[in-house]
């Protein structure tokens, strides 16, 4: 049997959504956002970016590399999910 990834993209995206809803203080409801919606347009700020990052690190038990600490990483649910997928064992 092929090995199944411990956690797939959809599952990660769902968890990212939950964390976003709790910690990012967006001006738009998370449910109304697609995976590709621009989170900065939805109200993400430099302050909430850092809160979001810390919450995601807790949730997934990962550490964001310095290389990932740039605007694009936090720009959408998809970008965040891909970054986290890259950090998971």
């Amino acid at each position: 049997m092929d090995t199944v990834p411990a956690i797939d993209h959809d599952a990660i995206a769902a968890k990212v959504r939950a964390v976003l809803g709790q910690h990012a203080r967006l001006s738009t409801s998370v449910d109304s956002l697609s995976d590709d919606s621009d989170l900065y347009d939805a109200g993400l700020t430099s302050l909430t970016t850092v809160n979001l990052m810390l919450a995601l690190e807790d949730q997934f038990d990962v550490e964001f590399d310095d290389k990932l600490l740039k605007r694009k990483t936090f720009s959408s649910i998809r970008a965040l999910s891909e970054a986290i997928q890259g950090l998971l064992p």
């Binding site: 109200g43 850092v50 310095d66 290389k67």
Partner: protein, 410 residues
């Protein structure tokens, strides 16, 4: 006169035929010429500019004559094609003679860099750059806004695109440095009336497209020649004047790093001026007491340590920024490590310049404290105190602190 910048003659000369400083030798030549301008024009009028809080007209006539307002415009677009390191050196030289002139020059180059880095894909902006080169236009900026507390990354005002293909914009700007003297102003605004405060664009507002209604006067401790009055700006013009890139990218890649590098460069020039006055004073002191080392020499040895750190920091930031530009990795400009470095440069240099000028004044003693002495450091000290306030250090430190929480930079 045989300097490389005097070939095309007056301000109406055609930029494209002008020889450019392609070699190190040519650039050294240009720097020497700018020192001449500094001595013969900037320094001569610096006191009147400061006393009357007026625009340094004579300096800008001379800078235009030398076609230095298109210093950062690439050669293929008719400019001098200088690098960021070279523009930094120009700011350093100008800062030694008149910090207000140097600040205006630096702010102009920051805006020019925004267009050069982000606008040349647009025919509207290419045509504007041609005109800038030809007429040596002066660019100002309106980034802060009444009601957003100095946060340049958020706007209240919004661009309205009209059915006839024009834009309309009104902004209450608490500060537009030399706004009345500028040929065009780059203005931040929300992309549309529906956009969030951070969804900004940069609009090139031509002088003939806007009215400026003054709000108050500019009577400050230092940098008096920058004439940084507040205005209500009302503009309407062609929709193509909205830069076709999100301001977030322009800010990360150009506005933020270039501003802090060039400001720090001219503050370094201000510090250099103070160091030279202190040095001259120490030499005169030593002559008076042959065989005895004056205490001022020890003070000079101390302040030179700070000065060396400041010079090193500016050079290092230029190198890091040039490397990032050359790498083509546009995403890395928003990397926390880079943003923190640039923020640290600004905060450190704005403190060092006060420290250096203050120590130079101790060295020169009452001669430095006087307004009417060749060792006077009064204007330099007043100017130096402005550095921490333009984009307040507390705001920058707050932003850095936030990023430090996330950063794992070793």
């Amino acid at each position: 006169m045989t300097t490389l910048t005097s070939v095309a003659g007056g301000a109406a000369g055609v930029g494209r035929i002008r020889p450019v400083p392609e070699t190190r030798h040519d650039f050294e030549h240009l720097l020497a010429r700018v020192h001449d301008l500094g001595r013969d024009v900037l320094a001569v009028h610096a006191e009147a500019v400061d006393t009357n809080a007026r625009f340094p007209h004579e300096a800008f006539a001379a800078l235009r004559q030398e076609r230095l307002l298109s210093a950062y415009v690439p050669v293929e677009h008719g400019g001098l094609g200088l690098s960021i390191e070279q523009v930094s050196q120009l700011c350093q030289v100008l800062g030694q003679y008149c910090a207000s002139t140097a600040m205006i020059f630096a702010m102009h180059q920051i805006q020019a860099a925004c267009i050069v880095h982000h606008g040349l894909g647009s025919s509207h902006f290419r045509a504007f750059i041609d005109a800038l080169v030809e007429h040596q236009y002066l660019l100002a900026s309106a980034t802060t806004e009444v009601g957003v507390g100095g946060d340049t990354r958020s706007s209240l005002c919004a661009v309205r695109l009209e059915a006839d293909g024009s834009y309309a914009l009104e902004k209450q700007a608490p500060v537009i440095s030399y706004g009345e003297m500028a040929d065009a102003i780059l203005v931040t605004a929300r992309r549309s009336p529906e956009s969030g405060p951070g969804d900004q664009v940069l609009v090139l507002v031509r002088k003939h497209d806007c009215t400026l209604k003054k709000m108050g006067e500019w009577d400050t401790l230092g940098f008096r020649g920058t004439c940084s009055l507040g205005f209500v700006l009302s503009a309407t013009g062609p929709a193509e004047a909205v830069l076709p890139v999100p301001y977030a990218d322009i800010h990360a890649r150009t506005q933020h790093p270039v501003a802090h590098i060039l400001w720090s460069s001219l503050w370094l020039g201000l510090a250099t001026d103070a160091m030279q006055r202190a040095r001259a004073f120490v030499r005169a002191d030593a002559r008076r007491t042959p065989g005895t080392l004056p205490i001022s020499a020890t003070r000079l040895a101390e302040v030179d340590i700070v000065y060396g750190a400041m010079r090193g920091a500016v050079g290092e930031a230029c190198t890091a920024y040039a490397a990032l530009l050359a790498s083509g990795e546009d995403e890395d400009f928003s990397n926390y490590g880079f943003v923190i470095r640039i923020n640290n440069l600004k905060v450190a240099c704005s403190q060092w310049v006060v420290d250096i000028v203050g120590r130079a004044m101790l060295i020169c003693g009452i001669a430095g404290y006087r307004n009417d002495s060749k060792f006077s450091l009064a204007r330099q000290l007043r100017d130096a105190y402005g550095a921490a306030l333009m984009v307040n250090n507390d705001r920058i430190l707050g932003q850095t602190a936030l990023m430090q929480v996330a950063s794992r930079d070793k």
